[in-house]
């Protein structure tokens, strides 16, 4: 019964594509352009029949390219077709944008196998215990961080289905809500950079991947934020769907040493440690241990001091002397430092992102050719400290005091757990992303360093062995071959489409509809949304973006902005029944009485949020375009 329904669904879609083409095709007076359109609808149907897309595109491309050349000059048609193929294939082989794909994929597989998702989830669960719907929020954050670092939807959903689903069900969460949270969270990695989807879009549309990464950052965060807000509201209004975590689950066992300190002195960390240091009674706790705890406890404060020092350094940097090497060094440290501070959830997140570029934009003049100024000379010419700096410092100090006044020994344990799981991952992501976005490294370089980071991460968690590397290497080869051969096929296909003049027919047709830019945008997004059902995102981007992108200029739409909307739009395809891959991955590991229908029902609200996010981004393009504008214009 089920099978029939799915088949009908597919056949209806296929007919819906073929019928208009066959009806509206002017069979009597076929031009090359119409041949192109025929080719386009045939390829969608051929893909739906299930033949590997890369070869469908390649075969279709070579046949129609031959047609096009044959209509022009039959004698050299074969040679021209062969030339076209080899040039197209070779251009994919030497594409310097696509080269980051295998590197990012490799990084993802390594990070996945470093196996810190369980630690990450447990740490976040405890850290967020007080929030309404804490488990669901922890799941979303874990998914967002882990999915961003790995980019592998299937693995993230499966792992969270094994870890978070039982945890949520045990705590009395609603089945649908739990399933929705896991599937929606697992798909976040597709949008939040560094994502492969954005590289594929950038390579297809000729948009800078760097700008796409900068642009997709805030929309990605926004989507994750909207999910979290939704979950918290549901937990607040309908507590029976997401009850608070029972106290027993929140209990953390303190190590004997710190437990002794807490019982003797104070449950707060600073008084406790100070007491222990000068206290005559020894309690049998070694001094080294106390100092070690103290250092860990002071890490946030040290990070804050370092960060403020850096901001001061940048803000008061003399504008006259401009030393390139100095700039690069500062940039590097600014970046790493910034990620630390941001990771620590100091309330200064916004400023952390804003200040360095703002300070960087100080007018720069070329360095004098004769000498590099020595540091003391530079220090002598420092600008006066701006007043906003003092404000920032005061706010920071106040929040630090507030932070330490509630920083107990129990929280120190949570902090240590975060330090071992959350911070390495988020620093790695922010490091890779930051170096790309701030122009310190090309995406390729950052991806390679990210892969190296992945190896180091796996080594740090004692998961690095030959099997892990070997498996990651082979998986990387398969995934890269899949994506890049698709590119080979699609570039031959789109060359044939262009040769036949299909593009002009589409352009003529769209322009004759006299659409306003808004209507065009809605139409384009709607088409992409519909295509998301039968096709995968890779196919949609490599086949249809070459058709949409040339139209954008007519409507004065920024291809960068369009790309962000497309990326957000294609996210919904991962959550739209009945083809949503995420649901099937979750079903594969869920208890057997959790039905697919329950999972689909759980995904629907999140799909609605995605559509909402799409609307918000459309209404306020600045969410995506602000960062690229600040950085690159």
């Amino acid at each position: 019964m089920k099978l029939r329904k799915e088949l009908w669904f597919g056949i209806t879609l296929m007919a819906a594509i073929l019928a208009p083409t066959l009806v509206f095709m002017p069979w009597a007076e076929m031009t090359n352009g119409h041949l192109g359109l025929l080719m386009l609808s045939l390829v969608v149907v051929a893909i739906m029949l299930g033949f590997p897309t890369a070869f469908t595109l390649m075969g279709m491309g070579v046949i129609f390219a031959w047609f096009a050349y044959h209509n022009a000059n039959p004698e050299i048609a074969v040679r021209q077709t062969l030339d076209l193929m080899v040039q197209r294939a070779y251009s994919v082989m030497t594409n310097d944008v696509l080269i980051s794909i295998p590197l990012f994929v490799f990084m993802g597989y390594l990070v996945e196998r470093a196996n810190l998702i369980a630690k990450l989830f447990r740490a976040l669960e405890l850290a967020l215990a007080r929030l309404p719907g804490s488990l669901a929020v922890a799941t979303l954050v874990t998914c967002a961080v882990f999915a961003t670092a790995t980019g592998i939807v299937g693995a993230v959903v499966t792992l969270m289905g094994l870890l978070a689903l039982p945890a949520m069900l045990h705590s009395g969460y609603d089945i649908r809500l739990s399933a929705g949270v896991i599937t929606a969270g697992g798909c976040l990695g597709i949008l939040i950079p560094p994502s492969v989807m954005l590289i594929v879009y950038g390579a297809t549309a000729g948009v800078s991947v760097v700008q796409l990464y900068a642009g997709a950052f805030f929309p990605g965060i926004m989507l994750a934020g909207l999910y979290i807000i939704y979950v918290t509201i549901v937990a607040k209004l309908r507590p029976h769907l997401a009850p608070p975590l029972p106290m027993a689950e929140r209990h953390i066992d303190l190590p004997a040493a710190t437990a002794a300190l807490r019982d003797t002195y104070s449950h707060r960390i600073i008084p406790g440690l100070i007491g222990a240091l000068k206290g005559g009674r020894n309690l049998g706790v070694p001094g080294v241990d106390i100092v070690k705890q103290g250092v860990i406890a002071l890490l946030p404060a040290m990070a804050f001091v370092l960060f403020m020092g850096l901001v001061w350094n940048l803000a008061t940097r003399p504008s006259e002397v401009y030393d390139t090497s100095g700039l690069v060094e500062m940039g590097v440290s600014a970046d790493t430092q910034e990620s630390t501070t941001e990771g620590l959830a100091e309330p200064k997140d916004e400023d952390a992102v804003q200040e360095p570029p703002g300070a960087d934009s100080a007018p720069a003049t070329p360095a004098p050719a004769d000498a590099v100024p020595s540091p003391p000379a530079a220090a002598a010419e420092r600008l006066p400290t701006p007043s906003w700096f003092w404000g920032l410092l005061a706010a920071g100090v106040l929040s630090a005091i507030a932070f330490y006044s509630i920083f107990t020994f129990v929280r120190l344990e949570v902090f240590k757990m975060l330090l071992a799981s959350f911070f390495p991952l988020s620093m790695m992501i922010l490091g890779v992303l930051g170096s790309i976005v701030f122009g310190l490294a090309t995406p390729t370089e950052a991806a390679a360093i990210g892969s190296l980071g992945g190896i180091l991460l796996a080594a740090a968690y004692r998961q690095l062995n030959f099997t892990v590397v070997k498996e990651s290497v082979f998986l990387t080869a398969k995934t890269s071959a899949m994506v890049c051969w698709l590119f080979v096929g699609s570039s031959i296909f789109s060359a044939a489409f262009a040769l036949l003049g299909g593009q002009q027919v589409v352009e003529h047709w769209v322009l004759s509809m006299q659409l306003t830019p808004v209507q065009f945008m809605l139409l384009a997004q709607f088409i992409i949304f519909i295509l998301g059902w039968p096709l995968e995102w890779t196919e949609i981007i490599v086949i249809f973006m070459p058709i949409f992108i040339p139209l954008l200029a007519h409507f004065h739409i920024d291809p960068l902005f369009f790309g962000l909307l497309v990326a957000l739009n294609l996210q919904t395809a991962f959550l739209s029944p009945p083809v949503a891959m995420a649901a099937f991955y979750l079903k594969g590991v869920a208890p057997k009485h959790v039905t697919l229908n329950q999972i689909f029902a759980g995904m629907l609200p999140f799909m609605a949020i995605q559509v909402l996010a799409l609307g918000v981004l459309y209404a306020f393009p600045e969410i995506g375009l602000w960062l690229p504008k600040v950085l690159y214009q």
């Binding site: 045990h170 051969w485 096709l535």
Partner: protein, 214 residues
């Protein structure tokens, strides 16, 4: 017959695996170059060409390997609901109509292309030139490898049409290997079954109380 098919699979897999290691070389090469350029201030112009070659060789030579493991993306809206015979029928026709002409043209053109490059002993356009023609021979090599694997797949389609089920393949590392992931996070089937009783209770309560507050 099955032996021959598996032998070709093995060949493709071997070639894919050998070139797959290029990703490690690529990671090491670029990381070292980043260090050399930004820290030691000694850039190497040839690295840019070398990294492109490693990347190109990696994915091209993995094409046949990926095909042998059914790793190339396919639209499965309908396909997964077909019976094996129907699947094999469509595949067979499309392999002959699309795959063979496309791949043959690519390999043949690539062969001419690479030989032209060899004839002039083509090098990269860089201060430290690398020979370019070996890289161009990757194109026909990958193409003919894919064609061989494609012929194997065609035979598989025919076997499936005859027997009504797909002939077996040798397993390979999978992206989402549920058993491995379960072991990784120490979750057993018994644990999942235990949760299942919870789910059943929950659903019963759900049904008994109607739909509370919904």
């Amino acid at each position: 017959m099955q032996k021959l098919l598996l032998f070709v699979d093995m060949l493709s897999t071997f070639a894919g695996h050998v070139f797959a290691w290029a990703i490690v070389a690529l990671t090491a090469l670029i990381s070292w170059e980043v260090f050399s350029r930004y820290v030691l201030n000694v850039p190497h112009p040839w690295v840019l060409d070398a990294q492109i070659m490693l990347y190109g060789a990696l994915f091209m030579m993995a094409g046949a390997y990926t095909l042998s493991k059914e790793g190339h993306v396919r639209g499965d809206v309908l396909y997964s609901f077909f019976s094996p015979r129907t699947q094999a029928g469509f595949d067979l026709v499309l392999y002959i109509v699309f795959f063979l002409p496309g791949i043959f043209a690519l390999s043949h053109a690539g062969w001419i292309f690479a030989n032209e490059s060899l004839a002039i002993n083509e090098k990269t356009f860089s201060p430290d030139p690398l020979p370019l023609w070996p890289f161009k021979f990757i194109l026909p090599a990958a193409g003919y490898g894919l064609m061989l694997q494609g012929i194997v797949e065609i035979i598989r389609c025919v076997i499936c049409l005859r027997d009504g089920k797909w002939p077996s393949r040798v397993d390979d590392v999978e992206e989402v290997d549920v058993d491995k992931l379960k072991a990784m996070v120490h979750v057993s089937d018994a644990d999942i079954a235990a949760v299942d009783t919870l789910v059943v209770q929950k659903e019963e309560a759900h049904r008994a109380h109607g739909r509370p507050a919904q």
